[in-house]
């Protein structure tokens, strides 16, 4: 029975991990329509940043910068030629992710490296270790920051304008190029932060990104592309579902169940949890 009750906080903490890895993706996806398959490798970059610095707290801002700059370079070098063609960027960024994985293998070696968690994260309350609580806190902070950015700042509004009508944005005086760069910088930077957090609970190696990317995408889909509230609810929902499905069956079956539930869910809410309708025909 306690094990059963324990699954609740565990589900929430799984949800927090999902949210953290999906947050940056939601951002770039929702704000720019870019499906960034290299997101996982930006997460990896964040994790390696933590490894190199050896200090988790310092690593958070630095990883944000490192991954953000990587995103910036990717945007300038390639993605900007692909706006309005989300499916093409998906494939392009996948190519990038392959290269980045190999790069990591050459820079840091194929075996995993270890990031030592700070001692103040040892221990926990009840079933939840402090490091899980830390991740939850980070996820909440990330959501609040993104929400404030999008709704409380002019930059956020400009970002939305560009994704909704690029040409009109340009002729309304918005420097679309700069907005793109900034958006991609932030979205990728968030991946870097997630990467730092993940060093607390998982392996740090070249394949790190591949372990999380599919789940991150599922959160984004179930939440409604780029919808922040959707992503939050979807992450929590999927976290709980995962936790209880695995509790009653096993890890493999739980993944299959999650997929089935998402399909079923899309029968009721075809565009995800939240959807902004527009009258304009496609």
């Amino acid at each position: 029975m306690t094990a059963f009750v324990n699954q609740l906080p565990i589900g929430l903490s799984i949800g927090a991990v999902l949210l953290l890895i999906a947050l940056g993706l939601t951002f770039t996806f929702g704000q720019m329509g870019v499906i960034n398959m290299a997101h996982g490798e930006f997460i990896m970059a964040g994790a390696y940043t933590a490894f190199l610095l050896g200090d988790l707290v310092l690593a958070l801002p630095v990883a944000f910068l490192v991954a953000g700059v990587m995103g910036l370079i990717l945007e300038r070098a390639a993605i900007r030629h692909f706006y309005g063609r989300p499916l093409d960027t998906l494939l392009l960024t996948w190519g990038v992710s392959l290269v980045l994985q190999q790069l990591a293998r050459d820079l840091f070696g194929a075996p995993n490296v270890q990031v030592t968690a700070p001692s103040w994260l040892a221990g926990g309350v009840g079933i939840l270790p402090y490091n899980r609580l830390f991740i939850m806190g980070l996820a909440i902070a990330g959501v609040v920051a993104v929400w404030a950015y999008l709704t409380r700042t002019g930059l956020g509004r400009r970002t939305q304008a560009v994704v909704q009508n690029r040409q009109l944005a340009a002729t309304s005086g918005i420097d679309t190029g700069r907005v793109d760069m900034l958006t991609f910088f932030i979205g990728s930077g968030l991946a870097g932060v997630a990467g730092v957090a993940l060093t607390l609970i998982g392996p740090v190696g070249p394949a790190l990104g591949t372990y999380y990317i599919v789940d991150a995408f599922l959160v984004v889909v179930a939440g409604g592309l780029g919808q922040l509230r959707g992503a939050v609810l979807a992450a929590i929902g999927l976290g709980l579902l995962n936790s209880y499905a695995e509790f009653w069956s096993d890890a493999s079956l739980a993944k299959v169940i999650v997929f089935a539930v998402i399909i079923a869910f899309l029968q009721i809410r075809p565009q995800g949890m939240f959807v902004l309708r527009s009258r304009v025909l496609t």
């Binding site: 290269v99 984004v220 075809p270």
Partner: protein
């Protein structure tokens, strides 16, 4: 008319006559493998290039075809009342009921195509009717591939788990290790690809093909022309699934193994990438892309076992940025440049 078919005829002659004569058996086997992928690519070209459905889970259909064929091969090998090797070491004592009909080659081959078609029909009906499309559809199919792999891996007694199935000896009484059998298989694969290519081309040049393009570019508008876009998409998706299934069935005797690794997220993506590199707007581009990328992967990994991923990724990034319409788009541009 004749001029239009000339390139196809030329390619067909090279593929059917020259390749088996010139290539050593190992290389011919690899080519046969690429051609199997080309069949899948053809389906992707139809569904994605023409119909706008980016399917990142085509490996699932490929796998269903492959597993059907593998089940048949395993059963012929085990003989009456025998059990496939992996069942023995997985502790399975009686042949599962699911397996029994696959002893019949007609059933197995039929299921290799029908299984994927049915799954695609069900999935397509569910998602397309709900107007799930674009990136949603792409990601859903990707998740399907991930889930399928996990399901297959988890049912070791039924599917061979991660190992999948391997260790096949004969197909319709022919020794699979024999070079002449492999040559024969190659010819079968090449012919199937040729026939499917012609049929698909016919389809995209028909009204149906126009309708498909219309659905891709304006699904909602198509509704007001009196068509049901969900139906059009579902049928097309099922057709591409059927092709993938058939390709899978041919793949198994050619390569000698089927495993979840062949149908997961990565191989499914690789196929789509191949189509993009070849040029998704032209069916020939899709086919070409599969062969080129297949060859590139083999060549790169043989030459640079340690860093071939760089080359594969770089090749792909370059093609996508410099020639967004792929190789087919380049040749198109060249042809235009010459005529004007």
């Amino acid at each position: 008319m004749i001029k239009r078919h000339l390139p196809f005829a030329a390619v067909a002659v090279v593929a059917l006559v020259a390749a088996p004569l010139l290539l050593e058996p190992f290389r011919l086997g690899l080519l046969a493998k690429y051609l199997c992928y080309a069949i899948v690519a053809l389906g992707i070209g139809l569904a994605w290039g023409k119909g706008g459905m980016l399917t990142l889970g085509q490996g699932v259909f490929f796998g269903l075809g492959g597993y059907s064929m593998a089940m048949y091969l395993k059963l012929t090998e085990a003989g009456d009342g025998g059990l496939p090797d992996f069942m023995v070491w997985s502790g399975v004592e009686n042949l599962p009921a699911l397996w029994t009909p696959f002893a019949n080659p007609v059933f197995a081959l039929g299921m290799a195509v029908l299984g994927p078609v049915l799954l695609a029909l069900v999935l397509g009906t569910l998602v397309f009717r709900q107007r799930v499309r674009g990136a949603y559809f792409a990601i859903l199919t990707q998740a399907l591939a991930a889930a399928m792999v996990i399901l297959l891996v988890g049912q070791q007694g039924l599917t061979g788990g991660t190992n999948g199935m391997t260790n096949f000896f004969e197909l319709f009484g022919q020794d699979l290790a024999d070079d002449s059998t492999q040559r024969g298989l190659y010819l079968v694969v090449a012919s199937v690809l040729g026939v499917l290519y012609l049929a698909t081309r016919q389809l995209v040049n028909s009204r149906y093909g126009r309708l498909l393009v219309a659905v891709r570019d304006g699904e909602d508008r198509v509704r007001f022309l009196g068509y049901d876009p969900a139906l059009v998409k579902t049928v097309t998706f099922a057709a591409s699934a059927g092709m993938a299934g058939l390709a899978g069935a041919l793949f198994v005797p050619v390569v000698g193994i089927i495993s979840p690794a062949l149908l997961g997220v990565v191989p499914s993506l690789e196929l789509v990438v191949a189509v993009a590199v070849g040029g998704r707007h032209a069916l020939a581009g899709a086919v070409l892309g599969a062969v080129v990328m297949g060859y590139a992967k083999t060549a790169f990994s043989e030459q640079f076992a340690d860093g071939w991923l760089y080359l594969q990724g770089a090749l792909f990034i370059l093609v996508m940025t410099l020639a967004p319409k792929g190789i087919a788009g380049l040749t198109e541009r060249l042809r235009r440049a010459r005529t004007t």
